[in-house]
Subunit: 162 residues, 2 copies
DNA sequence: CCGTTTCTATTGTATATACAATTATTAATA
DNA sequence: TATTAATAATTGTATATACAATAGAAACGG
């Protein structure tokens, strides 16, 4: 199909800064979806981590906490669906938030329900602030509209990938 | 800016399939770049892992091996730039490939050079096959053109994100 | 009403990744 | 030339994530 390997071209020179100074779009693998999607995700992740630092949570933990704030008692399986993570990962995220006294689990039968604690509830405005900060931080680079379109397209692509 | 939290809407029902049956585009967080970029990357990753299974390598390891096949003696720092990974991550990837006898490291001065072994070289056609398989697997869902455009846009976005 | 299947959640284990600190080498400067 | 700074790579440690196996509860069929 695509003569992928023919596209390889090593871009000299390379320095070894901890933060790669080379743009992903200048990489040998710039045409590769695998490479591009991952590089973008890592970049976005790093930006998000920065935004969420103020509440001492990783973005995943932050989003989970927002979710149970919005829908107290939500079950792990449902959380997994909404975050597009596996149930085991969600269990681990919840464990940490529980250790931080931000959520509690109640176990009734085979179902588990997750609720925010008072402290977890009180954090909600700050959580929203983090999301706002994050949105603003990339809105500086690309317009809000362009970003929406991008997100739209990414979903289209992901949806088609069974 | 974006009234993000206002968009939250829990989509019932949720089941707990190991592979989330809910589409990312149906999630509460569908409008969020962080969420979307990560969900897409994970999906692409999973697809890539499938394609690379035949050579017993993860995609990252496979791409690294392709890189040093193309440019024998390439240095870790340069590899890191091309893969958009940190040097420490690259060291770890190389360690594994070395344990598998697919590459060797020679250390002269402060520089390290990475070379494919004969076995590693012989694997090249299979590596290309993996890339082809991967490309074909998503070309089934989205056209090759649409994908190129998508990749292009993702770079544009990433480049602007300092 | 008992046994089997299905479903939810958790646990054990493994992985790729990153950051911070460290080592070893080279370059620069006073 | 001697000391200092910069660079390249590695190591220690931590994290988020996933898969496979398991436990416990509910549903269901005979």
């Amino acid at each position: 199909m695509i003569p992928f390997f023919a596209l390889l071209k090593i871009n000299q020179p390379c320095n070894n800064a901890v933060i790669p100074y080379m743009k992903a779009s200048e990489s040998t693998f710039r045409n590769c979806l695998y490479f591009t999607a991952n590089a973008l995700a890592r970049k976005v992740e790093k930006m998000a981590i920065e935004s969420w630092k103020s509440v001492g949570l990783s973005p995943s933990h932050g989003y989970l906490l927002m979710l149970v704030n919005k829908e107290p008692g939500l079950q792990p399986g449902c959380i997994a669906d909404n975050l597009q993570l596996t149930p085991s990962t969600v269990t681990r995220l919840i464990e940490k938030l529980e250790a931080m006294k931000l959520v509690v689990r109640t176990s009734g039968g085979k179902a588990t329900n997750v609720y925010p604690t008072p402290v977890g509830k009180k954090l909600l405005p700050q959580l929203k602030q983090c999301v706002d900060d994050f949105n603003r931080s990339y809105s500086n680079f690309i317009g809000k509209e362009e970003c929406s379109r991008m997100v739209e397209n990414m979903h289209k692509l992901a949806d088609k990938m069974t």
